[in-house]
Subunit: 307 residues, 2 copies
């Protein structure tokens, strides 16, 4: 990808006009260190939507200086907090929406709210931007966090969301590998048949200027050497930018194997809404949360300039 | 696990009586460098079953010194080559069976052959022994290479095969995490219901002196910190030795994410036969192939002493 790494992304965001992040806080949220860093480094401005007294207490407990963050007091249930936060982005008062410790269902419902949300009609899907140190370049893995058992139609939407993100990272013609356990079509493995169908859709122009090919096993999607050994001649083989996961189990286990066992960095975004949305998990590292905010702003900046 | 790492395993094998590996060669096999190393280091003796002239030619092409390896000339079809190799192990002339470039179906059929094979009545399943450098200990991941969409009954067999292997690595009470995308039972995710059933089977004593619990997401199976953050109180949480995969797609993508993006070592074994069987893929590294032979011998030595 033309964007080299996360350091380049961070620098780009810092040197662009400062954007505003709206956080739907929720009960028990205490990851304020990320926002203290965001404010201190000047990466973005932050607006916390939640119970003012609790926010200040919790931030103090974790010694996070959030004195320069704005707090929009709101002590209602999650369904209302999330809607207030979404509204800030909907009305252009903030640029990026982020989930705190509110219920995911409430959060998603607020995004999809017709009046105040960020609905586009597209499927919402999650994508990780990964930078494995051993590979020295970006990959997008999707969907590892949201859609449980996507149908073929949903996989097409997930691929399209990821292709748009890949363009945001500077790729003119993103290469999407439809992953399976093997690199050959096998009727006993329905995922390989879906991969074949998506390849045909790609040939018919369904994905615009992008290559969506499959099935690939992980190795011959990411490693040119492995593709060569297996004798696979395909422009996506060994050069995939986007790894389209068979289902949530495969995606979730894959991303966590990377996050826990490999050296590298990653960020996560929710795609398919009017604006990039940050939806991290409690067990994600502080760095992943920080880079997720940065990625959302970077992608939003790209969309402002190009759409 | 009481066995610390692959170096310890290699040392143990080198200091034990020398075992014999039977390789079903097949057309186009050229990974003789692994056997050259095995012979040079004195790890094992090797018997190649296949076309003598081709074996010698190929070994020369890749500059592998296999002069001390035994060649059992056999120029028939794969189905016969594999059966000849299996027979050597069946008759006690060799200790470990390994697949070369023969068709996997022929290879498996020979293992299951009633007269000359290594059939036990157990399900055959594949297990990887992984040593992620960042974790500094062994994990067993199964099934990442063989059973496509195992039923609950098959998962029980896969777990039992892995538990036996874990004992071979020195674990008295192996901890098996039944993996899903989440750590809670969710009727919309059948894998989590299976995990719950396996947990109940474990409570009824189905797995002997082993803990089989689930569902777990990958992070709270392997990381105590993640289990703590998510508030999971379970003796397997964060301490899993065996990672039981939801299906082949998840397992295959997981193992390759580890093999290609993380630092560490891994070996692969086929379990459920009378003797450990080595079944590697062409794109596996030479080190993985070497360590797979070592692991098979190590496990066989354990079984000789304990069964």
């Amino acid at each position: 990808m033309s964007l080299k790494n996360f350091e380049t992304m961070v620098q780009s965001v810092k040197s662009s006009p400062k954007r505003r992040v709206a956080l739907a806080v929720g009960k028990g949220y205490d990851e304020y260190d990320v926002f203290a860093r965001v404010m201190k480094e000047g990466t973005a401005d932050c607006v916390f939507v939640g119970d003012k007294a609790e926010i200040e207490k919790k931030a103090k407990e974790v010694s996070a200086d959030i004195s320069k963050c704005e707090i929009m007091h709101h002590a209602g249930p999650d369904s209302e907090t999330t809607l207030e936060a979404a509204k800030l982005v909907n009305q252009g008062k903030c640029d990026v929406l982020m989930k705190g410790r509110v219920h995911t269902d409430d959060f998603l419902r607020s995004i999809l709210n017709k009046e105040f949300g960020l609905r586009t009609g597209n499927l919402l899907s999650h994508a990780f931007i990964m930078y494995p140190k051993l590979m020295g370049r970006f990959f997008i893995a999707t969907d590892c966090a949201m859609n449980v058992a996507p149908t073929l139609e949903q996989k097409v939407s997930i691929a399209k969301n990821a292709i748009a993100l890949a363009r945001g990272l500077g790729l003119e013609q993103p290469k999407v590998a439809v992953l399976a356990a093997v690199e050959v079509v096998n009727p006993k493995m329905p995922v390989t048949l879906e991969a074949q169908e998506m390849t045909q859709m790609c040939e018919r122009g369904e994905f615009g200027n992008a290559l969506v090919h499959g099935p690939f096993a992980f190795d011959n999607a990411v490693s040119e050497e492995s593709a060569r050994i297996k004798g696979i001649k395909d422009p996506v083989a060994g050069k995939a930018d986007v790894l389209l996961m068979p289902d949530l189990e495969a995606g979730n286990i894959m991303f966590k194997t990377f996050a826990y066992w490999a050296e590298g960095q990653l960020s996560g975004l929710l795609l398919g809404a009017k604006k990039p949305v940050v939806l991290t998990s409690r067990s994600d590292s502080a760095e992943t949360k920080y880079l997720s905010i940065v990625s959302a702003i970077y992608y939003d900046n790209y969309n402002r300039q190009n759409n």
